[in-house]
């Protein structure tokens, strides 16, 4: 799975420019699953109950004739990553930018960004270095408009980028053994998990929709519309969450290496009690270590899906991640594998939600 994670994280895909990620994912979809792209660009991948291959339509069989009646279940992982967008090219060819998604100032200085390029995965485009104006008050974090990108140009004429072009962080994937580091783990790791689930999942009584959404980082914009179209009975997002296990960090009871985390609450939603219990009991019966997650700030696609139409019982399985929204997001490979195992087990069986 590490190669898949590497390819996914190295893809170019800031919010609004997910095409390269989508194409890579599409090529990885195993047989038996059918894919289509919706109006905003999310990739909806479907397999009807039974696991015999998806000729099933959108509402393919949720009722069962026997004891094992399946449900229509939607899983969502987002394809987009945070990045920057060119807002102005000044007279000397320096580029001013705005954020695409939740970019924080601290990780920027001296960083490199890369604009869209000719390679199939979107790489190979022009790169630049992030600089900073003189700082008057060293005790405060400078505002975003004090930064700029140096593309090596000396005027707007020889600047290789234009207003509106977007770039992602330019950083390569690193395998530290147990730990994997890359930009865009948020949420290519979720995409990798969903692909792996597709590969490992045998027969299932459930009507499964695995959705690779767009524009999560700029406001969960792709998830709501794709959920609206699917009308799931249960929804789960698979996304990263923070940890509380680094020096003098904000307190949080989640650590790298202790397993995937079942979300109870985050900044946008409360997980449906029945969905959360379903995940906990699955973990327990499959002996998969998992953690209990309360995230104070930040949220996932599940928040948008949960209020779709007349409401959807929704939850989230999280991959703990350090240095989130920096170019070096770190996850634990064991946690990732645990997430795959938990989801495969959960989706293979009929689901009874309580509460």
């Amino acid at each position: 799975m590490k190669d898949l994670i590497r390819s996914l994280t190295e893809c170019f895909g800031p919010s609004g420019h997910e095409a390269a990620v989508r194409e890579l994912i599409r090529r990885e979809i195993p047989r038996g699953w059918e894919a289509r792209v919706d109006a905003l660009g999310s990739l909806l991948v479907h397999r009807a109950p039974g696991g015999t291959g998806g000729a099933g339509g959108r509402h393919g069989g949720t009722g069962g004739t026997g004891a094992a009646a399946g449900r229509r279940i939607m899983l969502a992982a987002h394809m987009d990553e945070i990045g920057v967008v060119v807002t102005h090219v000044d007279q000397k060819g320096f580029v001013r930018f705005g954020s695409v998604g939740g970019v924080m100032q601290l990780p920027l200085l001296g960083g490199r960004v890369q604009f869209a390029g000719p390679e199939p995965n979107g790489s190979g485009g022009p790169t630049g270095v992030i600089g900073l104006e003189k700082v008057d008050d060293a005790s405060r974090v400078p505002a975003m408009d004090k930064f700029y990108i140096d593309m090596g140009a000396s005027s707007p004429g020889d600047c290789p980028v234009n207003v509106g072009d977007v770039a992602c962080f330019h950083r390569s994937f690193e395998d530290l053994g147990n730990r994997l580091v890359a930009k865009a783990m948020d949420d290519r790791i979720g995409c990798a998990v969903l692909l792996q689930v597709m590969k490992e999942l045998d027969a299932s009584p459930n009507d499964l929709w695995l959705v690779f959404t767009v524009q999560e980082e700029v406001g969960l914009r792709g998830a709501g519309p794709s959920g609206f179209g699917i009308e799931p009975e249960i929804a789960l997002s698979v996304d990263v969450t923070l940890t509380g296990d680094t020096p003098e960090c904000a307190p949080m009871a989640v650590s790298l290496g202790a397993g995937p985390a079942v979300k109870i609450k985050d900044g946008g939603m409360l997980a449906h009690a029945g969905v959360k219990d379903w995940l906990f009991s699955t973990a327990q019966s499959a002996s998969i270590p998992c953690q209990r997650e309360v995230l104070v700030r930040g949220t996932t696609d599940a928040t948008a899906i949960q209020v779709s139409r007349a409401g959807v019982p929704a939850g989230c399985l999280s991959i703990p991640s350090r240095y989130t929204h920096s170019p070096s997001e770190m996850v634990d490979y064991g946690d990732v594998q645990g997430a795959v195992k938990l989801l495969v087990r959960a989706l293979s069986e009929p689901v009874e939600l309580h509460g």
């Binding site: 919010s15 609004g16 919706d38 109006a39 905003l40 999310s42 967008v85 060119v86 807002t87 102005h88 000044d90 007279q91 000397k92 001013r96 705005g98 954020s99 234009n162 207003v163 509106g164 524009q215 700029v218 914009r221 792709g222 709501g224 519309p225 794709s226 609206f228 179209g229």
Partner: protein
């Protein structure tokens, strides 16, 4: 002139009736059907001439930012709150019109002679200010303006001279288009001043657009309550289920001189603005490509709005149901959301041409 009538009408978010009435009269001979929904959106259908099964929504919002009366005091002054995003610094010492009857009032201000040092350095908040209508007591004030009545800046529409220095960069194409455009007088006064160009300019464009018939069904939505959260557009898009949407707006141009080399977002005289992304949505790349290439091929002056700034009805429309590919085209104006904005009519005309030409070609961008 339609733009003038629209600009001077009172249509603060939630009370758009006067604007709607003007627009209804303007478009009734041009459309196949027309309705007013429960939120007050004015929605008209111009059926396609055939050749395309697409359903395209074109939207402009009728409401403007303003104030609302929250109560009267015993002294006879009226208290108010802001509706939509108004910079509170523009409020003190302003003349206003209240309600349908346009009751005149002034937002009072403590004379500078009597300010203490601390006060001089602070911007009074809206809730510290009041409107004086000349009433001597609470009852008289309430007769003139009840709770919930809306208030607009008392700005009349005016035509000013051409921009100093022929607009940014002296774009020859812009100059040529301006000189030959329908509104150009010899030596042309092209700059107009008024309130609520955001988004009466868009409404005027949409009303004019309805004289055309396109190969596809065109749903024109004059929406309500954009300024308080893109509200009318959301329900209009829900009901009309478009395949694509084009929002016509008026967007800010920040050309006040600065020492820093920064983007003005848009410029007067540089043509119609195309949004690539703003704070509320990311334009569908096919639509950006469609309008950009149309503008280039037809020599329509155009510019790209600075990304990430502001929000429009497209922010609500694109997320409705299963999603709607959307774009916003806008006329630049200086000082939007203030009592008086400035707009260059050559940009307005460029917008009219681009939206028409782009829509003609839209079926190619969305085949099938």
């Amino acid at each position: 002139m339609l733009l003038q009538r629209l600009s001077e009408a009172n249509g603060v978010s939630g009370r758009e009736e006067a604007v709607r009435a003007i627009l209804l009269e303007e478009i009734r001979g041009r459309v196949d059907s027309c309705r007013v929904d429960r939120m007050g959106n004015l929605i008209a259908l111009k059926k396609g001439s055939g050749g395309s099964a697409l359903r395209v929504l074109v939207a402009a919002h009728m409401d403007e930012v303003g104030l609302v009366i929250t109560g009267a005091e015993d002294s006879g002054v009226l208290r108010f709150a802001t509706v939509g995003g108004i910079d509170e610094r523009v409020l003190p010492a302003r003349m206003v019109w209240i309600g349908e009857r346009r009751v005149p009032g002034v937002i009072g201000m403590k004379p500078v002679h009597l300010l203490d040092k601390g006060e001089r350095d602070r911007v009074p908040e809206a809730r510290q200010l009041y409107i004086d209508v000349g009433a001597s007591g609470k009852a008289e004030a309430e007769k003139l303006a009840g709770k919930g009545e809306t208030v607009v800046f008392a700005t009349e529409y005016r035509t000013l001279g051409s921009p100093a220095g022929t607009g940014a960069g002296g774009d020859a194409a812009a100059g040529a288009a301006a000189a030959s455009g329908p509104g150009a007088a010899a030596g042309g006064a092209r700059i107009v001043q008024g309130k609520a160009f955001d988004d009466r300019a868009g409404c005027a464009l949409l009303a004019a657009l309805l004289t055309e018939r396109f190969p596809f069904d065109l749903v024109a939505a004059f929406t309500v309550q954009e300024e308080v959260g893109l509200r009318g557009a959301q329900v209009a898009a829900w009901a009309e289920k478009p395949d694509a949407a084009v929002v016509l707006e008026c967007t800010g141009a920040n050309e006040v001189p600065s020492r820093r080399d920064l983007s003005p977002s848009t410029r007067l005289g540089a043509g119609v603005s195309i949004t690539i992304r703003d704070a509320s949505f990311i334009a569908d790349p096919r639509l950006v490509q469609l309008f950009a290439s149309t503008a280039r091929e037809k020599n329509i002056p155009h510019q790209y709005k600075q990304p990430n700034i502001g929000g429009t009805d497209a922010g609500a429309i694109h997320r409705v149901r299963e999603g709607v590919p959307s774009i916003t085209l806008a006329v630049p104006a200086r000082y939007i959301h203030s009592p008086a904005a400035l707009m260059d009519l050559s940009d307005f005309e460029a917008a009219a041409v681009l939206v028409r030409e782009g829509l003609e070609r839209l079926p190619r961008a969305f085949p099938g």
